[in-house]
Structures are given as C-alpha cells and as structure tokens.
Amino acid sequence: MSVLHVQDVTKVYEGKVTNRALNQLSFEVDKGEFLAVMGPSGSGKSTLLNLISTIDRPTSGEIIFNEMKPQNLNSTELAYFRRRELGFVFQDFNLLPTLTVEENVVLPLTLDQKPISVMEERLGVLAERLDLTTILHKRPNEISGGQAQRVAIARALIHEPAIILADEPTGNLDSNNTREVLELLSNINRERQATIVMVTHDPIAASYCDRVLFIKDGEFFNEIHRDDRRQTFFQRILNVLSLLGGGQVGDLSSIRLP
C-alpha cells in the first residue's frame, strides 16, 4: 500500500531565467519503506523535498498522501496537515535554541494543543528509546551534534506522522554519529513501521535504506533495491553514482562536501 504517490510532477521556477527543476517525475513510497533519494547538486532533490513538504506547489502533476491531495487544501489546512502527517529531520538540526531538549521534542504536540498527559507519555517512551533521558533538561547549545540529531528525530516522531522527511540528516555529523543516527533511523523504520524519505549525497547513508532512487537534472535516472548485504548494496550505489557523474567517480568527493 503506498503512503506517498508522486505522479508526473513538474516544477518550473519562473523568473528572469526560467528553470525546470523537476520534470515528469513519478514514484511511490510504500508504508514502512525507507527510501533514499540521491542525485548530484542541482538535480532537484531539495525541490522534490519542498514539494513533498507541501511548502511549495508543483507546476503540474500530483502528490498524493494516503489518497489525499494536499494541493487542494488552503494554507491553514496545509499547516495542520504538515504538523500532523509530516515529520522533519534537517541537516543542521534546526532545534530552537531557546527551548530545552524536552521542549523541543514536544513542540509539534504543543502546536497542536495536545493534552499534557499525552505529551509526557510519548516523551517518556521516545526519550527511553533514543537515549535522551540524561539530556532532557539541557539546551541545544549544550549537546553534541549526534545528540542534537537524535533530539530532532524524536521531534519528528513524537506526533506519529505518516511520513518522515529527512534532508541530509548526516550532513553535519562525524562518521561515528553518522552510523549511530542511520542505525537509529533504520531501526525505527523496522520497529515502528515508520515511512522515511531521506535525501542524501552520502552513499553510506543511502546504503542503510530499502531502496535508492536516483534523479538527475530533475528526471528519474535509476532505482535500486537493497539486497542481503549492505556492502554489496553500497557497491551498487557507487556504480550508479559513477554513471550519474558521467563516468568520473572523482566527482563524488566534491559532491560529498556539505
């Protein structure tokens, strides 16, 4: 059963220079799937994520969530839709500096004015699961990058969204924290049947996913599925990337810079 259905989506930025960021892109995401979207800079990944986030509208085509079309909603309904159905994980965490860790985590629920008992119950469960109990009363500037991203993931999970959108979630992390965050995401994906769409440059990050979708210049390029071993999956991702880069594998290093 597909949670997200992207159908023939085209996005054209009008302006002094017209730019076609996405062209006739179609794909589906099933419930409980962990999908990575890869592509070189300027391939339209961010545009795609903005469209799925509903903060931007496609020029043509449709994006359907569980048979619902956010395009038809007005801006207030869209805001309600985002806060209930979508969870976000950002590259630079985007925790609010004035709130403590626990306040950052429950923020989506306070926006939705949920009862405090619900907030505390879910906070307890997530803090336990994501190992946040010791830092709950600290502020974002007092915790490490890996901890910050775990807090952000907790924030994305607390309102039990239909789909989690992650934008380069490991872009600002070192290799240890990267592994930790990716394992966390894939565990959550398995345990909670959470649907995750992750945009990334990093083939290692992508290798944790069930499926990798490659786009180039706003168009569908290729798609590969995970097999039994992560090593070989990683190798296959690298192969596609080298094809993407026009055969020059060396391009990748420049791509990987945040």
Partner: protein, 643 residues
C-alpha cells in the same frame, strides 16, 4: 570601481537597509535644527523672556545633543551588528580591518551628510510653522522667519562631528571577532538564564517602596522624598528587568500544566531569552519613557494652571494699604493716570475693611461692607449680595472653600462693638485672589457695618483694618505695564524676613505674563525633549528587532515547515512583540502615575489646581501613539518573517 564608489553604491543601492538608520539620524537633525532656529531667533535673543529661560533653553539643547549622540551611537551599533555577516564576507575576501573601518566611515559620512542636509532643509521648511505655534503659545505679536548663519553652523558642526566621532569610535572599539563567528552568528547565541531570587524580590520591594513614599508625599516631605523616590525607583526598575521578570517567567515555566498548554511554550521561552538579553535596554527605555511621560504630564499640568489663572485672579490690579498709609493718594493717582494713559477702561472700588474679634473663634475676622462689595460685583457682572441686619456671608478664599463654607453655619458676636450676626451663606464665586483676603473674611450689611465704631482691640500692635483698592480691568492682560515700579518695590520687600511696607500691590496681568512665558517655554522645551525621547525609546526596540531579524527568520522557517498556520504565526509574533513593547511602557506609565499622585498632592497645597483631567488626556494620547507604533512595527515584522 574605486573604494569610494564601492562605499557610495553600498549606500545608494541598499537604501532600504539603511533606511532605519537614516531616519533616526534625520529626525535628530530635524528636531535639533528647529530648536536652534528658535534659540538664535533675534526676538528671543533680545530677551523678551529675561535671562532665566535662555539658560533653560541652552540646558535643554545640551540634553538634546547628548541624547541624540547617544541615540545615533546606539543605532549605529545596531546597524553594524545587523550587517555583521556582510562585513564577515568582506573580511573573508581579504579586506583589511583598516579598510573596513574606512568603508564604515565613508558610508557613515555619506548617510550623515544626506541626513544633515535633508534635516536642515526640512527643518527650515517647517520652522515657520513651528514659529507660528510658538507665537501662539507665548502670545507674541509676531515671530517672523529669519535667515542667519548661526543655527546652520551649529547644527552642521554638532552633527558632522558626531558622525565622524561615532563612526570612528564604534568601529575601533568594537571587539574584534573572528570571521568564522561572524559568518555563523546564529549558532553562537548564548542562552543562559541568570537571576537570583533575592534580587528579584528586592526589585519589587524597592519599586513598591517608592510608590508608597510617592503616595505619602506632602509639601513638607517633598524635598527629602524627591531625592529618595527616584533612587528607589531607578534601582528597583533595574532589578525588575534584570531579575524579577526572569524570575516570574521561570516560575511559570516550572509549571507544565500552564507552560505546555495552548502553544504558550514557544513565546514564553523566547520571552525569557529576550528579557535576559535586553534587560538593560528595557531599563534604559523605561527610564527614558518615564521622563518623557513626566515632562508631557507636567506640561499638561502647567497649561491647566495658566488656563485657570483667570478664575483664580479675578482682579486686574489690587492695592492694599494701612488705614494711615501716607502714600495712598500718590500711588492710587499714579496708577489711575497710567491706566488712562494706556486707554484701558477700569472700574475702581474702594473698600474699607475692618478687623473685629469673633466670639466664635476668639480670633480676628475681616469685615467687608455690603455696598462696597456690590460695587465691585456690578463691575464683575456677578449677582449682587443682599443682607439684612444680623446676616452675614463668607467670602471664599479658594475654589474648594466655596463648597466647604457653604455647609457651615456660624452664630457669632463681633466682640468690640457687640454686634450679633449669623453667617450661613457663602458667595458662590471667587471675589478676591487668595493672597489678598484672609481665611476669615465676611460681608455684613451696611446697617451692621455702621455700628462698628470701636476698633479691633485683641492685639493692639496690629492694624485695626485696611483700605483696599480693587481695579477691575476687562483687558487685564494688557495692564501688565502698570505700576511696575510699585510691584518691584513690593516683591523686593516680600523677599525680606518681615514685610514692613504699609502697602501691598498686585498686578495680575504682569504676574500672568511672567508665569505664562516661563511655563510656555517649559512646555516647548519639554515637548521637544519628550518627542525625541519617545522616538528614541521606540527606535531602540526597532533596532533590536532589526538586528535579530535574520535569526528570527530562520526560526520561523523551521516552524512553517513543521506546520504553523498564518494565523498562528501572527499570534506568535504578537505574543513575542507585545511584552517587549508594552512592558517598558507599562512600567513607565505606572511610575509616572505615581509621580503624578505625588505631584497632585504637592500642587493641592500650593496652587490649588487639579491635574487629573490633563494627565488622563496626555496619557491617553501617548497610549494611542504607542498602539499605532506597535502595530506599525508588528506589521513590518510579520511581513519580514513571513517570506
């Protein structure tokens, strides 16, 4: 592109970025110039006001200069802070710090020159209008527009040097920060809350103590309290903003059932951050705003005093002398001839007032004759007095006394001549100014008055009565030049310990012109200073918001992505801005209200003027301005963070 061109284009092409800074500078120059135009005005220099007001004008001008320097310095700092990232890019590209200082210097000079030129042009254009207002206030014949080099030179000198010094100062003395910190400004925000419970409570206690003292102020305690109260209030206000507010927010934050409900969490958390970082600024703002409020309220008070002057002083000229005053004839005839020379119509009433001892109070009572009073009342156009034998009427000595005396009924005997009278009425208008009649003055019928043959005997050394010459002059304001020498003599004598002259003289017109011109001048000075203060106080917030706009924008971006509707965004901004605006203003309003309570108490014993109406009006007007200003800023702010 040369370096100069770069600086020039920076300013001209980014005029919107520079607009706030430019407006602040422009307005300071504008006000200063208009004010200088007044100060150097030939008619004012010739001294129609005497020397004292001129000194006050210079003092006000100095306050204006100091404050506008501070104001420009502050806006400059905020402006540079807002552009930190731009400077970081320039430094990153390899610009030297020396070159950066030169860039800032050049830009400041460009903006400064433009604002000086425009400020002077607009100032000159508006000074005729301003002079017209001044002319009305000071009741001058004419206050023409003039052209002289002094105000121009003064304004240019003061502000040009200000811009040069401030630009050099603010660049050289700003702490050198690393480029990397400037580029990542948002991430390096420090947020620790620091307050102590003791200080928090002390702040409240000090303010309340100040308020209680203000309520208890009377004329006798005025001098001690006027030193003590400001000290308490200023210290209390400082602690209030650095500790008390944070303490309260923290207390609320510890209660989840309040704090986490109804999306209160975010604005509350932001608030504690805002309060912590801006406590000192809020303190300065509160004090500045209080000063502005006080000066405006004081002016309203003074204007009410002058407008009530006419009622309190119904007579044009009054001459009072002992019964055996040797100079009586000489003085009266000279006054009359002076009045005739000026072709002023007048009505002279001569009173013989006798002192008697009242059996009721055992003290003296001043007795007026019914027909004498009626002569004066005819010329006033007031209703006449009719008294039968044995009847008497109080003469009120102040507005309030009319009410009090009307309830009183006294049966007494004038002991010296054994005349029995009953006093059960009061004349419903003020007949004499309070300085002339004693608190115990009555009118009796002519029949009874003729029976007062034996003189006052309780205190043989005191005069048994006096002669009163009341000149009722319809155009009393124009009689200000009459009897100036006499007035001089009297006022010199009244400064001595004992008043020994056998006569006393009062010219209402002359007094009025003194009071009016002094007060009007204060009005003018106060209004100008208050305008600058209010503008500055508002601009402090504006600059502060402007500086943090970038970081705020990023925060709202995250929130929008997470799903916050337009309506919620607006209410969030409101919850964020409202306390920042109205907390300092509210505290200032509260301070000023208590200050006016004290003032009202003092004035009551002094000039018998009620200021409630004027104060309410002045404050209502101020609140209106603030609401407009707040909505303006809120509107701009929402527009900024929304896109």
């Amino acid at each position: 592109m040369t370096f100069h061109q770069f600086a020039y284009r920076n300013v001209i092409r980014n005029i919107r970025v520079y607009a706030a800074y430019f407006m602040a500078s422009f307005f300071s120059v504008f006000v200063f110039f208009i004010y200088s135009m007044l100060m150097f005005h030939p008619e004012i220099e010739d001294g129609f006001l005497g020397n004292v007001p001129i000194i006050w004008m210079v003092v006000a001008e100095i306050i204006l200069v100091v404050f506008s320097w501070f104001f420009i310095f502050y806006s400059m700092k905020a402006f540079l802070e807002a552009r930190a990232k731009e400077f970081a890019i320039l430094l990153h590209l390899g610009m030297e710090r020396r070159q950066l200082s030169r860039l800032v210097f050049l830009e400041t000079i460009i903006i400064g020159s433009i604002s000086i030129i425009l400020g002077i042009v607009f100032g000159y254009a508006f000074s005729k209008f301003f002079f017209m207002i001044v002319r009305e206030i000071l009741m001058l014949e004419d206050l023409p527009l003039y052209l002289s080099w002094e105000p121009f030179l003064l304004t240019i000198a003061v502000y040009f040097s200000a811009f040069i010094l401030i630009s050099l100062f603010s660049v050289h003395f700003s702490p050198e920060r690393k480029v990397i910190d400037l580029l990542n400004r948002y991430k390096t925000i420090q947020i620790d809350v620091d307050f102590t419970k003791g200080k928090a409570i002390l702040g409240i206690v000090l303010i309340l103590g100040g308020y209680v003292l203000a309520l208890l102020t009377t004329r006798s305690t005025m001098i001690i309290f006027s030193v003590f109260i400001p000290f308490l209030i200023i210290l209390g206000t400082y602690l209030f903003f650095t500790d008390t507010t944070q303490y309260f927010v923290d207390r609320i934050k510890n209660r989840r059932f309040i704090y986490w409900k109804k999306s209160r969490m975010l604005p509350m958390a932001e608030q504690s951050f805002v309060l912590k970082n801006n406590g000192k600024m809020f303190f300065v703002m509160t004090i500045v705003t209080t000063l502005a409020f006080l000066s405006i309220g004081l002016l309203a008070t003074l204007s009410s005093y002058t407008s009530q002057y006419d009622k309190l002083n119904p007579l044009g000229l009054i001459y009072k002398g002992h019964i055996d005053n040797p100079k009586e004839n000489e003085h009266i005839s000279s006054l009359v001839s002076e009045l005739e020379e000026k072709e002023l119509s007048y009505q002279l009433t001569r009173f013989t007032v006798l002192k008697q001892t009242s059996s009721f109070t055992k003290f003296e009572v001043e007795v007026f004759k019914e027909s004498d009073i009626n002569n004066l009342l005819v010329s006033y156009g007031y209703p006449l007095v009719r008294l039968a034998r044995g009847e008497a009427m109080f003469i009120p000595y102040s507005e309030d006394s009319i009410k009090e005396l009307s309830k009183k009924r006294v049966e007494t005997v004038l002991l010296e001549n054994d005349v029995e009278i009953t006093i059960d009425q009061v004349y419903p208008e003020l007949i004499f100014p309070s300085s002339i009649v004693s608190l115990n003055s009555i009118i009796i019928s002519d029949v009874d008055f003729r029976r007062l043959v034996k003189p006052y005997s309780s205190f043989p050394h005191e005069e048994p009565g006096y002669h009163l010459f009341a000149f009722d002059i319809p155009q009393w304001v124009e009689a200000e030049g009459v009897g100036v020498a006499l007035q001089q003599e009297v006022s010199e004598e009244s400064l001595k310990e004992e008043y020994k002259l056998p006569y006393y003289y009062e010219n209402a017109g002359l007094n009025y012109s003194y009071i009016l011109s002094t007060y009007s001048l204060f009005t003018l000075l106060g209004l100008l200073v208050a305008a600058v203060f209010l503008l500055a106080a508002g601009s402090f917030i504006y600059f502060k918001l402007h500086t943090s706009l970038e970081a705020e924008k990023k925060k709202f971006d995250v929130l929008k992505r997470m799903g916050i509707s337009n309506h919620e965004l607006k209410s969030l901004v409101t919850k964020l801005l409202f306390p920042q605006f109205f907390l300092p203003w509210g505290v200032a309003l509260c301070h000023s209200l208590f200050a006016f309570f004290a003032l009202q108490n003092i004035l009551k014993n002094f000039a018998n003027v009620s200021i409630v109406k004027e104060v309410v009006f002045a404050f209502g007007f101020l609140i209106l301005i603030e609401i407009i200003y707040y909505n303006l800023i809120r509107w701009r702010y929402i527009a900024h963070v929304r896109d």
